[in-house]
Every structure is written in structure tokens, then in C-alpha cells.
Amino acid sequence: MKNNVFLPTFFLLWCAGWTSALADEVKCFESRKGASEVTQRMIGENLPNVKCSPKTGAVLWWGDPFDGTVPMGDMPIADADYTRGKALVKPRSDKVGLLPLCGNTCHTGVLPSGFPQNKDSRQLIMMHQAIVLDATKLPHGRSAIWCLDCHHPKERNKLVDHRDNPISFDQPQKLCGKCHGEVYRDWREGIHGKRIGEWASTGTKRWFVCTECHNPHNVQHGERNRGIAQHQPEVAPALPKGMKTADHERRHHDSARH
């Protein structure tokens, strides 16, 4: 009984300690909730690393666009934007080691024996139900694909290409581009997707990779059929002087349009 109380209490105290130490800490998300997050801090005199929206918690402004980035790594296609300038990404590989347990077992890249490694569709029982509720009906691909079509069957800290070679989580475009060729081409050339940093075609840019904006497990978000999850919008602009509401905007004036 005593033990039962002691452990949670200790945990709570530990958490409380962290919370007070990080009392001023503001965490914001970069592109979509659930993807990359940053903690607000000062990186120079009068220069915060990010400015965040008080309403939505989204990053509104980057003091240093390259803060916490690493080179994107090799890309097989020459003649694309990343061959001219310097392409950086925010590393995502470490995210698979979220909990100590994960980083010590499967996500080290060595799969313990006994785990099935074939691509046959089956339910997830112990892990990852939070990510994919019903693995036999994966929304992405409308059940036509399954986890191990994208995740490496043996190296669970990697994604997989057509020839069972591993792909880094920092370069998910190599995986996504397998099917989404047209979008991939647009992304390579800067037409699709988000980049921050220097605008010149030869400039240094931080590239946002596919999964920073799209949820790879549920890209289309059901009926809405759009690749982007819904966002909470920022506050509406101030009404002009003398206006109390914006109700008039929803009143259409078809009667006047003969």
C-alpha cells in the first residue's frame, strides 16, 4: 500500500519539479500539430528563435530558420533544387525513440526475434494503436497498403524503398515519391511544399519534408479529402470602426441582383 502511494507521488513531484523549472517554457508547433515542436528561447540579443501565436500555439516567425537542422543527405536525383543550394532538414529519426523502451528494443534497427516480418495485413495489438486505430483499414491507401509497405520490415527505425533498402526518417520523400511522383517532382523543384531560409535558387533552405505537413497514416482525413489536417485559424482582423459584428457578411444579397 505504502509503495503504491510512494511511486506516483514521487513521479508527480518529479514532474512538478520539471514544470517549475520550465515555467517560462513556451512550446510551439511548426507546421502541423503532432509534428515538429520547438521551445521558445533567446538566440541573441532581442532575437527569439521563434515567435508563436498566442491563440493557436503555431510558430509565426523564425529568428533563425536553420536552428536545429542537419543536412538533408544524399538525394539521388540531380538537376533539382537541392543540388544547387544547401538543403537542410530538421532531424526526425530520433522521434522513434520517444520512450526509453522504444529506443532500446525495436527502434534500434535490430528487431527481436519472434516478430513477424511479412507484409500481410494484420491488426496491431500491443503498440501503435494510437497512431493507427485499425491497421487492417489503414486510411492511407484505403486499406490497399499496410504498415510494412512503408516501414522497413526488419529495421524498424527506417522506412523502406522498392528494393527493401532502408530510407531515413529524415528523407521520407524518397518513400512517398514512390507513389506520388508528380507531387514529388513539384516538391523537388520547390513548387510543392514548404521551405524557409534563403529564397535564391542557390540559397540555403530548410526543407520541410512530407510528414512535417501531412499525416502519413491518414493523409486525406476522411471525407474532407484534402492532404492537410484542419487547423485552428488565427483571430479575425479587427472590425472597422463603428462595426459591431460581421454578421452582414453572411447575408447574401441575391435580391438585389436581378
Partner: protein
């Protein structure tokens, strides 16, 4: 030179003296001017935040009055033109009063522009050489040019006439007549350019049509002479200066034509816009019927239209027109109708909706109204003084006499009546 000095002294001495009614009128105007001074001070100190203007409707009462008063200034030509081109005797005798009206109207225009501007302290940026005067590209630069030119022409023309009259010398027609003819054409230019100021902007479809200049001219030549007839009737009843019926009738005829033309143009616009009813007609729809539940301007539009039509009806009927009480009513109706038509009927709906479709309402604040009244008060004060001086000279109440004979005594009965001008 001595004559000129005497002219100035006599003129000033004459115009500052008058009856209690005159002083009461001046005091009333000064009270309104106090409001203007206070408002101007607030504008200068803290900006235009005290007005009802917004980024959506960013020109309002001030610019509307400016546009209207340019018309009044141009309307003065309705005396000068018949007087000098058609040698209309009755109008020829009082043409100088029209010039005095033009001077005060242009002054008011300038005051309204100063009230309207965000940084009047930087007006010097518009001066050539030390600043940049963006001509020929900027219509505002053209408008400044024509307005200043018009002020100059009327000032020189008017005071040259008065000075010659004062000294008893005949006019030098080689100098005077060209001045008058130039000023006649110039009068057309001021309201035309003011129309160009608005209608050269395709961003505002309500303004962007080629009918604007002629509509401006026709309303100006209705509102201007309306005000002149009212002034004439007042002058006739309150001073010794008798203005012939022929003069008033001639002006009434001009108003009739021009008001009729203005109404016709309004009708043309309504039909043109509403028949097709494109998005470009949204402003007019908003004005005439209200849109999105906003109906602030609707009564103004219909009120203005009814006033103009009523005025036109009175003017069109010879029996009514020759009754000067009814004529005065018609003039008041026409004047007010056109004033509303320029402001609430043209300027404000030009901004609603905004070019990207936002609907909003504009309501002038109390301070804005005070400043507007104050600007009018300055103009009326100047007009009163100018008319008083001009009438005094016309009547011969002030005239140049050799120094030995002493000044013409001031304060005779005739002058007291002249001074009662209100």
C-alpha cells in the same frame, strides 16, 4: 502706391464696421471657427483617429465637401459667362460678386484638403524645386494647379475691378477681358479635373465612367447659381444694392437647364448600371437600396433625388419660378440635394464595397462635423467680408478721394444697411 494703400485701409475699415446683426453673424461664425481650431489642433496633435474614417472608407465628409465646393467655385462662372460673353447687363453689374464667391469657395476647398490630409505639415513636399510636384501623372497635382490658378484669376480679376471702381478709373480691357475669358474656361477646368481625380481610378467602378466630368459640371452649374441666387436675394433685401430681376431670372434659367441635365445623367447612370447589374454596380445598389442589411445611405440618396426633382419642377414652371419665395425654396432644395449627391451619393458609396468586397458603414464623428462646420464658417466669413467690401464699392460707399478731402465718412445709413448683410 498711395492709392493702393488707401484702398486697403478704406476697404478694411469699411468691412470691419457694421450693425449688431452683422457682428452677431460674425460672432456666430467665429464660434464655429473655434470648433474648427480645436478639431484642427486635435488632428495635428493626434492624427485623424478622431474621424469616422477607416481603411475601408478613407475619404469622407472632408473630401466630399471639397468636391462640392469646387463645384460652387466653378459655378461662379454662371454669372461671369453671360455677363461677358453674352453681355447680359444685369449680371454684368454684379459679376464681381460671383468672383468673390469663387474666392471664398476655393479657400474652403483648400481648408477641407488640409483637414483631410494626414500630414498637412508636409505640404511643402508638393512645392516644386524644394519638393516634388508630380505633374503630369498625379491628378491631385493637376487639381492643385487649377484650383490655385482659379483662385489667382478670381482674386486678381475681382480686386482689379474693385480697385478701378474704387479709384474711379476705367477698366483696362486689354488686361481685364483676357483675364475674364481665361477664368471662364478655367472654371470648367477645376471641376473637370476634380472629376478626373475620382474617375481616373478603375479600382473604384462607381466613379470610373466618362460621364463624371459633365455630371460634375452640370451639378456645379446648378448648385453654384443656386447659392448665388440666395445670396442675391439676401443682398437685395438687406443692402442698398439692388440686383435686377433679369439677373436672377437668367441664373434661374441656367439652374433649370443644368439641374435637368444632372437629373438626366443620374437617370442614365441608374439605367446603365442596374440593367446589367454587374459587380461594378454594387456601390450603386448599396446607395439606392442598401446591401447586406446596410441602408444608411438609402434615405440620403432618395432624399437628394426628391429634392432635386422638386427643385427642377419649381424651376421648370414659369409661374412658380417667378415667385421669388418659391425660387428661393427651389434653390435651397437644389443646393442641398447636390451637396448630398456629392458626399453621401458619390464619394462614400465609391468605397463600399471595397475593391476586394468588404461592406462597411461610414458615420462621421461629432468632431468631424464640427471641423466641417468650421471650415464652412471660415468660408462664409471670408464671403461675408468680401461681399460687404464689394457691395460697398459698387454702391460707392467707399471710393478714392484726394487726401485733402479726407476719407469718406464711415457709418452712414446706407452703409449700415450694407453692413447688415447676413
Amino acid at each position: 502706391m498711395d492709392k493702393l494703400k488707401r484702398f486697403v485701409v478704406d476697404y478694411v475699415t469699411y468691412v470691419v464696421k457694421g450693425s449688431p446683426a452683422f457682428y452677431a453673424w460674425i460672432a456666430f461664425l467665429c464660434l464655429l471657427i473655434l470648433g474648427l481650431l480645436y478639431g484642427t489642433y486635435l488632428h495635428a496633435a493626434d492624427g485623424l483617429g478622431y474621424t469616422g474614417l477607416t481603411n475601408q472608407v478613407h475619404d469622407g465628409l472632408y473630401l466630399a465637401n471639397f468636391v462640392f465646393l469646387v463645384g460652387i467655385a466653378a459655378g461662379a462662372v454662371t454669372i461671369v459667362f453671360p455677363a461677358y460673353v453674352y453681355h447680359h447687363k444685369a449680371l454684368h453689374a454684379v459679376a464681381v460678386l460671383g468672383e468673390m464667391l469663387a474666392i471664398s469657395a476655393v479657400l474652403m476647398c483648400m481648408l477641407f484638403i488640409v483637414s483631410h490630409m494626414g500630414r498637412p505639415d508636409r505640404l511643402w513636399h508638393m512645392l516644386p524645386i524644394i519638393g516634388i510636384y508630380n505633374i503630369p501623372h498625379s491628378m491631385l497635382a493637376w487639381d492643385t494647379l487649377v484650383l490655385l490658378g482659379y483662385l489667382f484669376l478670381n482674386f486678381v480679376g475681382g480686386f482689379y475691378y474693385l480697385y478701378r471702381k474704387y479709384t474711379g478709373q476705367p477698366l483696362n480691357n486689354k488686361f481685364y477681358l483676357p483675364l475674364i475669358y481665361v477664368s471662364i474656361v478655367w472654371a470648367l477646368s477645376i471641376h473637370t479635373v476634380t472629376a478626373f481625380l475620382l474617375n481616373t481610378m478603375p479600382s473604384r467602378p462607381m466613379w470610373h465612367h466618362s460621364m463624371m466630368p459633365i455630371r460634375f459640371i452640370s451639378t456645379a452649374f446648378a448648385a453654384g447659381p443656386s447659392m448665388i441666387i440666395l445670396i442675391f436675394l439676401i443682398v437685395r433685401s438687406r443692402t442698398k444694392l439692388w440686383i435686377e430681376n433679369a439677373a436672377i431670372d437668367q441664373l434661374a434659367t441656367i439652374i433649370t437647364y443644368c439641374l435637368g441635365l444632372a437629373l438626366f445623367l443620374t437617370l442614365s447612370e441608374v439605367v446603365t448600371e442596374l440593367y446589367a447589374n454587374t459587380e461594378h454596380a454594387l456601390g450603386l445598389n448599396y446607395l439606392m437600396f442598401g446591401l447586406h442589411g446596410f441602408t444608411d445611405l438609402v434615405p440620403w440618396f432618395w432624399g437628394s433625388l426628391i429634392a432635386s426633382i422638386a427643385a427642377f419642377m419649381i424651376l421648370l414652371t414659369p409661374y412658380w419660378r417667378s415667385n421669388y419665395r418659391l425660387l428661393a425654396l427651389a434653390c435651397i432644395l437644389a443646393f442641398c440635394g447636390i451637396w448630398v449627391e456629392k458626399g453621401m451619393g458619390l464619394l462614400v458609396p465609391g468605397f463600399i464595397p471595397t475593391p476586394i468586397g468588404e461592406f462597411t458603414q461610414y458615420l462621421p464623428t461629432t468632431l468631424e462635423i464640427f471641423v466641417t462646420l468650421g471650415n464652412w464658417a471660415v468660408g462664409l466669413l471670408v464671403l461675408t467680408v468680401l461681399l460687404k467690401g464689394a457691395i460697398g464699392i459698387q454702391l460707392g460707399d467707399i471710393g478714392y478721394a484726394p487726401p485733402t478731402q479726407g476719407k469718406v465718412p464711415v457709418g452712414t445709413t446706407g452703409m449700415a444697411t450694407a453692413a447688415e448683410l447676413t
